[in-house]
């Protein structure tokens, strides 16, 4: 196991695309978070988003958007294995399909871990500097754990799409449009089953905090997952974890069915 993850990082540490994407995410997260807090006018102030304990819900909600970028990075890394034929070479050299899945899952979990850790640092700094709240910083820190699961969820979707499609450009398009594709399918599914679709479940892990706190701007309609879905966060979490395992299983199934070209 340790060797498998070491091999994964040997591949990506010298890879520029990997650094560009993570660099972007790690730079933009605090920058955008800071920017949002500075918005507002005399009547509405956004600066309270920095305060404990709200900061955890707020920063993970923001982070969830960047999860799409990280998922894109996973798509690229996995499609590379097929387009460079290095997956095939790894099998020839002495790995098997289980090693492939385990390697990629370990990579995904490590990415999620780094991102969650980074959000913790950013959130903690914003919360500490802004002051104005007496609650302990650990209150509501569960959002970080939920974010961690969500990150794994998005990246597992990336894994399955990349393994199925194998072409980088097509996989990125399909991955980024998966939410849209899902919502079209949902139209045909009766309530409440439509609320259990994977992308929606994963997205709902980090509920939109702005809907709780701030008056909804007229003209912008955002579904409030908490109000509408009425699936408690705990249930969402369990369903998401189940989906993640299903995704890994399907990915393995796809691999075993196909010749390795």
């Amino acid at each position: 196991m340790l060797d498998l993850i070491k091999i994964e990082y040997k591949k990506i540490i010298p890879y520029r695309t990997f650094w560009v994407i993570f660099g972007l995410v790690f730079l933009l997260t605090p920058a955008v978070f800071y920017g949002i807090g500075q918005m507002g006018n005399d009547t509405v102030s956004f600066s309270s988003i920095y305060q404990f304990p709200d900061v955890w819900n707020n920063i993970t909600y923001l982070g969830s958007w960047f999860n799409l970028l990280i998922g894109m990075c996973v798509v690229i890394l996995i499609c590379n294995e097929f387009s460079f034929k290095t997956f095939r070479q790894h099998v020839i050299d002495g790995q098997d399909k289980v090693d492939f899945i385990v390697s990629k899952v370990l990579l995904i979990v490590s990415f999620a871990l780094f991102s969650a850790l980074y959000l913790f640092i950013v959130g903690f700094l914003f919360g500490s500097i802004s002051g104005g709240s007496d609650v302990s910083f650990v209150k509501d820190i569960k959002y970080l754990l939920i974010y961690f699961i969500q990150a794994i969820g998005y990246m597992s979707v990336a894994l399955i799409v990349a393994t199925l499609v194998r072409s980088t450009a097509l996989s990125i398009i399909l991955f980024l449009s998966s939410i849209a594709i899902e919502s079209i399918i949902q139209l045909a599914i009766p309530y409440p089953f439509d609320k259990y679709f994977p992308m929606e479940i994963i997205a709902n892990l980090t509920p939109n905090p702005f809907l709780k706190d701030i008056a909804v701007q007229p003209g912008i309609e955002i579904a409030n997952p908490l109000a509408e879905a009425q699936i408690p966060l705990n249930t969402t979490l369990i369903v998401a974890v189940v989906y993640i395992f299903i995704f890994w299983g399907i990915t393995y199934f796809i691999l075993t069915k196909k010749d390795i070209k």
């Binding site: 091999i7 095939r88 020839i92």
Partner: protein, 295 residues
């Protein structure tokens, strides 16, 4: 002799194309086994199946008597079709990944890079390599860990004449060390110079297999002529070590036993009172033999 590889009735189809039809082969330790055949005859398909990247429709195979697994593949050095590496990584970084997969000491990287003459470019990115350099790197990769068995699909593909000679020398060295080498090729000259055994495939069918001398008739022939061919023929048949006498045109062709050369033949004829007007060594025409085989 122990079988390194046992292939048992393997078949593989791509839709309507029967790429491999009930192939059964045994490859023994120490053999340099050439798989010959025209384009699309199923050579790569065979190697892909025994390396577990292609799923056979039927049949089975064993490595050293055991069911194939990733552990058996770790001990085989393989080059299948094209060199596959990360373009943005250097030669050294790429091989270091292979070392980790094969559970081989990293010190092997510099050794194999030296063997294929790439050590001076060890820190260049793979994508900057020429075709021949990529092929050399793939061969280097197959040599990592000094495996007892090598599987090589057209190992000299894309190499310059010097490169071909070098790789051939490497293969011969490995063969002399007693390693088992399974090699697909359509370069007859290459097969003749390196292989001890061959199998010939055509459209997925095994046409024939066995020691290379018997299959491709690689033994050298001696051609002799003199004034009276009938007497010559009769005399030749009485000389020790002479076989396969036949007459074509105005010349007699024959084979000499191991250790006997044309000087021996000349002396033997002279002792019997015959002066040969011509004695020459005739290389057998591999290409003609091969084309005859796959007709």
């Amino acid at each position: 002799m122990t079988a390194v590889l046992n292939i048992n009735g393997i078949s593989k189809s791509y839709g309507k194309v029967k790429a491999l039809n009930n192939l059964t082969l045994q490859i023994n330790q120490g053999e340099v086994f050439g798989i010959l055949g025209p384009n699309g005859s199923g050579k790569t398909t065979t190697l892909g199946i025994i390396l577990d990247v292609l799923n056979a429709d039927a049949g089975s195979f064993t490595w050293n008597g055991e069911a194939p697994s990733k552990y058996s593949r770790k001990k085989i050095g393989s080059l299948l079709e094209t060199p596959n590496f990360y373009p943005y990584l250097t030669a050294r970084q790429n091989l270091s990944i292979v070392c980790k997969i094969k559970e081989v000491n990293e010190s092997e990287v510099d050794r194999v890079l030296s063997v294929v003459d790439l050590i001076s470019r060890a820190n260049s990115k793979f994508k900057t390599f020429s075709l021949g350099m990529k092929q050399r790197l793939a061969i280097a990769s197959a040599l990592l860990g000094n495996p007892d068995t090598l599987v090589l699909d057209e190992p000299t593909n894309g190499l310059d004449p010097q490169g071909i000679a070098e790789i051939r020398a490497i293969i011969l060295d490995l063969a002399n060390e007693g390693k088992t080498i399974i090699m697909a090729s359509h370069i007859l000259d290459e097969v003749e110079k390196t292989c001890t055994h061959v199998a010939v495939l055509k459209l997925g069918n095994l046409l024939t297999h066995g020691p290379i001398q018997t299959i491709l008739n690689t033994q050298e022939q001696v051609c002799v002529s003199s004034d009276d061919l009938e007497i010559l023929k009769l005399t030749l048949s009485q000389i020790d070590g002479v076989s396969n006498i036949n007459q074509t045109g105005g010349k007699i062709y024959l084979m000499l036993a191991e250790g006997k050369d044309s000087a021996y033949l000349n002396k033997a004829l002279f002792d019997k009172g015959i002066v040969a007007s011509e004695i020459g060594i005739q290389k057998s025409d591999l290409e003609a033999n091969f084309l005859e085989l796959i007709k």
